[in-house]
């Protein structure tokens, strides 16, 4: 019961989804099952959130290293959830002027955008370290990256202004994107399609089942 039912269920549901793709009256199952997925995930989020709160409460209670920041996590969670659920006009909680919107704009957004912006720095440090002409492969990597980086901004065309129009860095960047890049991307994508198909079959056939746990 504990193990067999889930395996059979996976197989039935998986095969049904594949077959449904080819039988128009069954197409509706796709939408329905996706909706069910959202419902399951919406229930599951309670498990995650409870876990997060418990871990941090534990940390505070046991006075582990950095415990004050456990308090911050819990407070942060409550500070946005309580207004979001109860004091922000229900479903229109994201409208301009609600307390939830205020927190979104002045707390959530700056944090999120700044974290994202760290990438500007990491792109620089990673390219400094990785783009060295050690061998043929590394050199190709370097040259392609270099051409694209300069070709995308006005500087690229400015440096190569002495070349006839149509042969400048911007054009080279476009050419690399259009042809060799397309080819490499295609090979990767086709490989992914096959890998995924095979992986999905292993899951459906129950060969890959570590995720299902033991008894």
């Amino acid at each position: 019961m504990r193990r067999e039912v889930p395996l059979v269920l996976t197989a039935i549901v998986g095969l049904t989804m594949i077959i449904a793709h080819f039988i128009p009256p069954f197409n509706i199952l796709k939408d329905l099952f996706e909706d069910w997925f959202f419902i399951i995930a919406a229930f599951a989020i309670y498990l995650g959130v409870l876990n997060l709160l418990r871990v941090n409460a534990d940390k505070v209670y046991k006075k582990q290293r950095d415990w004050p920041f456990g308090v911050v996590v819990i407070l942060g969670f409550l500070v946005i959830t309580i207004p979001g659920l109860f004091f922000s006009g229900g479903r229109s909680f994201l409208d301009i002027g609600t307390p939830f919107y205020y927190l979104y704009i002045h707390v959530y957004y700056p944090l999120s955008a700044t974290m994202f912006a760290l990438l500007a720095f990491f792109v620089a440090s990673a390219s400094y370290r990785a783009f060295r002409a050690r061998n043929v492969e590394a050199t190709l990597l370097l040259v392609a990256a270099f051409v694209l980086m300069l070709g995308r901004v006005p500087i690229g065309d400015w440096i190569t202004a002495w070349l006839p129009e149509g042969y400048r860095l911007g054009n080279a960047a476009d050419w690399i994107m259009d042809f060799p890049q397309t080819a490499g991307q295609r090979a990767i994508m086709i490989g992914i399609a096959l890998g995924l198909v095979s992986s999905a079959l292993r899951v459906i056939l129950g060969l890959e089942r570590t995720y299902m746990g033991g008894d």
Binding site: G90, I105, Y109, A120, F121, A133, L142, V153, I155
Partner: protein, 289 residues
């Protein structure tokens, strides 16, 4: 003397190779911050892909309805928000009616933020635009491309109510808007999935509606083929595309101002790559000799 010199030189190249990354960070920060203070306005003429977007909106008669789908979140704001603001400015000046929606949870909110900004303009304030008559915000609906597909049959199926909970039938603007047949253009701002690709595949290819889009620079090249085949009227790619569009509507905004920083930062990264390789090769040469 000679030996000492080479000793010193060697350590210099070596030091350079294992440079503290914080020094690189500092250079990048400076490369972006300093140009912000110089209001260099680079002239950024519209490339044909951008002109396509501009024309698609410019050529609509007043009163036409545009469905604007905001499929991005704050993460892509620097790139897409200028396009959102420029679009609203353009549309409201031309007296177009805008139906806002989002396939990303935060999308409709981004639209609200752009509206707030645009309503500060004198000429637009003077038009005294009304919610429900001149624009509506349908909000977000979960379901990705399935939503696009369903809307082809009926908007109401996916959006029985607008973002504020008002039934569509009570919104004057939505009277007579049943599906894509009743809108004149779709304008889509996209930062990934679901986004422009899905709009092309599920709305343009199936329901033959006209589509113009703005994308992050990462995504834009994947959209060029659609522009060539005419499935897409045009695409604004990244900050540069935004800057071109801003220039085209005659109101240079944030994107135009940012382009200078962008160029300098690229140059700095390339400079470091060159330095890194110089150091790498001088060390290699030394080792060989």
């Amino acid at each position: 003397m000679n030996q000492e010199n080479s000793q010193e030189e060697k350590s210099f190249w070596e030091k350079l190779l294992s440079i503290d990354r914080r020094i690189i960070f500092l250079f990048i920060a400076a490369a972006i911050a300093v140009p912000l203070f110089f209001k260099v306005s680079m002239h950024i003429p519209a490339t044909p892909v951008v002109q396509g977007v501009y024309d698609a909106i410019e050529n609509l008669p007043p009163g036409s309805k545009v469905l604007a789908s905001f499929d991005y979140d704050p993460g892509s704001m620097p790139e897409l928000q200028p396009m959102a603001e420029a679009f609203f400015r353009h549309a409201f000046r031309k007296d177009l009616k805008v139906i806002i929606m989002g396939l990303w949870p935060q999308g409709p909110l981004q639209a609200n933020m752009a509206l707030e900004e645009v309503f500060k303009d004198e000429d637009i304030k003077a038009k005294n635009l009304q919610y429900g008559i001149d624009y509506v915000n349908l909000g977000f609906t979960a379901g990705n491309e399935v939503v696009i597909d369903r809307m082809g049959h009926s908007f109401e199926e996916s959006y029985p109510k607008d973002g504020q909970g008002t039934p569509l039938s009570e919104l004057p603007l939505m009277k007579g808007v049943r599906n894509y047949d009743n809108v004149d253009l779709i304008y889509n701002l996209s930062a990934g999935y679901p986004g422009t690709q899905e709009w092309v595949q599920y709305a343009v290819d199936v329901f033959h509606v006209k589509l113009a889009a703005g994308n992050t620079a990462v995504q834009a090249p994947a959209m060029y083929p659609y522009v060539q085949t005419g499935q897409l009227a045009g695409v604004l790619g990244g900050m540069k595309g935004g800057a071109e569009y801003e220039t085209a509507i005659g109101k240079p905004g944030i994107a135009v101002r940012y382009m200078f920083s962008q160029a300098i930062a690229h140059a700095v990264i390339c400079f470091f790559i060159i330095i890194g390789n110089l150091a790498f090769f001088s060390l290699k040469k030394k080792k060989r000799s």
